[in-house]
Amino acid sequence: MPETRILKDVCKGCGLCCDNVCPENILVISADTINASGYHPAMVTDQSKCKGCGFCYMICPEPAIEVYK
């Protein structure tokens, strides 16, 4: 089962990956965490749903996302 990892401190919280890019809509900006650079990073809500399609990775400018299978 695929796994999506968000590199918390690389993420700039732009929200692109959370903006219906993920077919499963399992990515959101975590309002309450703030990273070293002062951004609210994205997080995966329900890892089990991940298809490993990599769309999130593709649209991430940093890239701050890794997908494992």
Binding site: K12, S37, G38, Y39
Partner: protein, 177 residues
């Protein structure tokens, strides 16, 4: 008499506005003032800081090397500017976002729950006003009135609601000590 101030924080924390408002307030009190901002290489984010000088006679250098007062809005800024502060100088810092504590004991340390208090007023972004209010109270550099006048001058185009929230935040900070 010359007072040199440095205000430092993240890009989005209104560091530059605070500096300009402080300088304005000084000018409204008939003082000589200068303001000089300095940004990092990043287009957004990163840290920004600015130097404000408020004096009774003509200001020579607008760049502040060893400030009398520093307003610290985030963690990295504390590490950078605490050492530069003059002996017996004032260090106002944003306790909400800054976990570590100042190390020096030859300075006046003033922790302020700026972001928390701002949130209580319903607007995280006015944390900078809270700091300015506190500064007005603790030092006789500028008056609360001149700060209010200054912020209303600076944000002339903003709506009254915003302006009054700023006023409240300044007042809030002013009542802290």
């Amino acid at each position: 008499m010359t007072s040199e101030i440095i205000i430092s924080g993240f890009g989005g924390q209104g560091v530059v506005s605070s500096g300009i408002i402080l300088a304005h307030a000084g000018m409204f009190k008939g003082k000589q003032v200068t303001f000089f901002p300095s940004y990092g290489a990043e287009m957004r984010g990163g840290t920004a800081n600015c130097s404000v000088v408020i004096a009774t006679e003509k200001v020579a250098s607008p760049i502040v090397a060893s400030p009398d007062i520093v307003i610290i809005m985030n963690e990295p800024s504390l590490a950078r500017f605490e050492p530069a502060l003059r002996k017996n100088g004032y260090l106002f810092f944003n306790r909400t976002l800054i976990k570590s504590n100042p190390k020096r004991n030859d300075i006046q340390v003033l922790p302020i729950e700026a972001n928390r208090l701002a949130e209580e007023l319903g607007h995280g972004r006015v944390a900078n006003m809270i700091m300015l209010g506190a500064l007005a109270k603790k030092t006789d550099l500028v008056s609360l009135e001149s700060l209010i006048k200054a912020q209303r001058y600076r944000f002339a185009k903003a709506d009254e609601e915003q302006l009054s929230i700023n006023d409240q935040a300044l007042a809030k900070g002013y009542t802290l000590f």
